[in-house]
Symmetry: C2
Subunit: 228 residues, 2 copies
DNA sequence: GGTTGTAGGATTGTTTGCATCCGACAAAAC
DNA sequence: GTTTTGTCGGATGCAAACAATCCTACAACC
């Protein structure tokens, strides 16, 4: 066996594993919004006891993916239009902070900008009418990379939750069609602003991206968005 | 009794109560950083069983207030200089997003700006050499009000955790002395920018506030801050 | 007919107990 | 004297059982 196989194994705690499994399941839309997640059922299906499962659910509840009604059970949240706006508002706040830190760390943002532009190119390489799921994957990887380059523990942790919520909304709303070209342009603007260290341009690009994303998601609902 | 007393009562869950109690205890510095929090001990002292207590600890761990070492126990985190920078970076990102939303909601930011300025005046009313704890309280209430006016569920939730972490750092570092006048000015700049709807000024004011706060906290350590 | 009271079933909330793991101390071997 | 090793105590991780609460449905009453 190679020596690499005896690195200090970090056994993940059982609640962590459970939480991750359910989180991705929700992100993939395997649990419809509004579904009740029975403890005994899930525990049996995962082969664990209710104790660790409850702790995992506790996490997901705090992350905002589930809501807990006392003596009733746990339910997958049903994002309202206000929630969708709020998710994007928060995501933009986090990503704005991340981008500013990248620029501050390295005024040219060379490495980060390069990777981000590469992702944009990969997105642009997708022809029109390509798989929407794949497009979403690349889209989110762009934002994930941006936050990662900021190397901030807290921004990264918060962003992970927000990405899951975003995926949930995308799945729930069936990912309305949206101009690929606009999308590529918006991301390119962000990447170029980081690369150039142009803070005002970054603010414009992020605001543009958030507005169009919200518009895209709220349009099919044809419902005036509340403020809360 | 007035009719307002029969709104749908939301009984808080036991883990919520426990989490809040311990959170504030940590924020108040009743548990030194690095202290081990034994489950059996705490459970006995709070009069609950280990189950609910573990769920509460799970939350606090995810919030970043505790670290869990498998089969060893739970410990209060010891914020490193890098953590302090990260906390303020994240807090600024959240508050920046909140302030921008306030401006967007109401370009004059009249109500919010008025309350914020009132808090600033209360801070200014404190003479030099006043109780540092009281000053901190007003300081944090300013930031808390700013996020509250944005009426964003997610920003509010994230901010609550960050405020706790901030308080922990302040307690741990004994709240170094800092010019009251500078502090008042910084907050006033933020409030005035919101009141005027002046976005560039807001960015400047927030950056200024973050930088001086970090400088204030890191100075006594006389240690070059890492980037992670 | 509509409302109220009451069992039934099911689910969550909590407690208790056992298994596992880690760190520390002491004893033995080199 | 130093190193290794065995054992002990305590803490967490997990699982199962008990208790309390809530929803649903049906029957009795106004």
């Amino acid at each position: 066996m190679p020596a690499s196989s005896l690195e200090p194994l970090h056994q993940e705690s059982t609640p962590s594993i459970i939480a991750r499994k359910i989180r991705t399941a929700i992100g993939n839309g395997e649990f419809e919004p509004g579904t009740q997640l029975g403890e005994a059922d899930l525990a049996g299906r995962l082969g664990v006891s209710r104790g660790p499962l409850r702790e995992a659910m506790q996490r997901l509840t705090q992350e905002g993916l589930l809501i807990s009604i006392r003596n009733r059970g746990l339910f997958v949240v049903e994002p309202t239009p206000a929630d969708i706006s709020d998710i994007y508002l928060t995501r933009t706040a986090v990503e704005r902070g991340a981008a500013l830190k990248i620029i501050e760390l390295d005024r040219t943002g060379s490495e980060a900008g390069a990777e981000l532009l590469a992702i944009v190119e990969k997105m642009a390489a997708l022809g029109p009418g390509s798989d929407p799921a794949e497009l979403s994957l690349i889209d989110l990887s762009f934002h994930e990379a941006m936050v990662r380059w900021a190397s901030s523990k807290r921004l990264t942790r918060i962003h992970r939750t927000l990405v899951t919520e975003t995926r949930m909304c995308l799945v729930a709303l069936e990912q309305a069609e949206y101009s690929l070209q606009h999308r590529v342009d918006e991301h390119r603007h962000i990447a170029e602003a980081i690369l150039a260290g142009d803070v005002p341009a970054l603010h414009r690009a992020l605001a543009e991206h958030m507005d169009s994303a919200i518009a895209q998601l709220l349009e099919p609902l044809a419902d005036g968005a509340g403020t809360d």
